[in-house]
Point group: C2
Amino acid sequence: MIPADDIDALRAFNRVYTNRLGLLDTKLDNSPFTLSEARVLYELANRTDLTGAELARTLRMDPGQISRTIKRFVARDLVAARDDPAHGRHQLLSLTDQGRSTYAALEQSTCTAMGALLETLPPVRRDSLRHAAETLTRIFTDTAPPQPVLRGLRPGDLGLVASRQAMLYAQEYGWTAEFEALAARILADFHTNFDPACEDGWIAEIDGQMVGSVFLVRGEAGAGKLRLLYVEPAARGQGIGDLLVRTCIERARAAGYTRLDLWTNSVLGAARRIYQRAGFVLLEEVPHHSFGHDLIGESWSLAL
Amino acid sequence: MIPADDIDALRAFNRVYTNRLGLLDTKLDNSPFTLSEARVLYELANRTDLTGAELARTLRMDPGQISRTIKRFVARDLVAARDDPAHGRHQLLSLTDQGRSTYAALEQSTCTAMGALLETLPPVRRDSLRHAAETLTRIFTDTAPPQPVLRGLRPGDLGLVASRQAMLYAQEYGWTAEFEALAARILADFHTNFDPACEDGWIAEIDGQMVGSVFLVRGEAGAGKLRLLYVEPAARGQGIGDLLVRTCIERARAAGYTRLDLWTNSVLGAARRIYQRAGFVLLEEVPHHSFGHDLIGESWSLAL
DNA sequence: AAATAATGTTGACTCAGTCATCATTTTACG
DNA sequence: CGTAAAATGATGACTGAGTCAACATTATTT
């Protein structure tokens, strides 16, 4: 079930955008084209040998309207229609030279108008706007389900991991900043003592956004240690946790560890199940008071 | 000058949104209202005693069109118009009972349609969509320049600060992950030894987004230490750095420190100027090799 | 070979959007 | 105070958008 808040947010945006649509339209500058005409021109300029039906589909416009629009363009000598040699019923549409130069002028003026609009925004909002615009473009464009990808570490990742985990566990379990400090320290140590031969870290991303992580560090007595595994709630149930753990195990094996240890807490049920599935065995349970709660720490291990 | 990339991003979004607009419209469900009519209904339902001119302004529609639309609504007994007792030329518009129930039904069905659309998205994208929609709504709605606000620390802040600084200095100065580890360690220590009486941290926000930070910790011999000051590039030039430093100084004074120290690097010119303006004095310059570069560390101090 | 589907076009109709005009009323200003 | 300027609400005229139905023609499927 979709939360009403989500629906409201989208509807509010829809309203605002529609009310301010003029600000983003070609109508602003007194161009000789309507919005629909400009859209048709854009498609014709950026694709080759379109048919009318194809135009109607991509722009979600009425075929009849396309037909009439094209007729107007042909009359103005902006568009040339020639019969498709392969399909007798199809007509291949393309811009004439005049059509192309007219489109270029239109393009120029919309860019100028858009730039003027962006000029009015403070830089912080300009950045937010761009990011939001790119996000929405992706969401409306990519119909394929987003694939989670694993990647290596980049600058800024460590802090982000600590931050997301701190927020998550504060929200879900009420853990205090003590956990955040622990995570920050683990990550600081990770980098300070970093040995590329036998240590590593992975970030899981969807649409370029971090949705999970895992780290492999050197543990005690020839054992590797898996640390800071987490998956964003919204990204759970897609096997991302399994993927992260599997990757970590393989890397631990390649690094020559004889055993892979990890320490977790009994309340982290989702993580526990992932460890179980991966073959880890629960060795020890030790109650402790940390992060503002009475918890049961668990030591798990996997022979490699 | 606005980067062409920003303009392209916004235009691309504009195109995609327009092409898919139908998906977000009242047209989807076979409602008896056009988009414009639905917008007028919405305004009438959510505000009281609107005049036609007011409607035309908020919806950016032609007064003539409003006039005709209202006439249709009055004929359908959805809207009642009564003369304004104060202004003889004004007409106060409001929904009739039938208008209200019709609007409620419309509202219901658009919410359902919107929910159905959100259902098709994977949860990760749903979250992104919501966030982006809220951002854009704010940007198009708030015309007032965004005010930077200072706030205390919340879960997740520490990691975020470390992450942003690491990314920033990696980008601007090519600093290595060594800096990230240092930042993470400083923040871990901050929390581990946290003494609320004489230590503190502040986050500067614009539109709820972090754009800067500063921390006050206990230093040596009764002195306070200012650490991890930073301001996002896009938010610079608005006095946020000054505000952060001033806040930190005041807090240091209140905590009873006799002196406020800080350590920085000569390349961080913007920060240096902030310290100078705040009255800090450069005490010592020590060359060092850190973060992958030859740097000159600087010790500054301010008598309180 | 016949049924089915897609393509491009046209007619009919309503609403959107723009522009000009107008009567009326309110506000601003010398 | 009186007049000029501005705002309000309405209307006519016109083009294009959007929807629906119909149609001839050509491809595709069975």
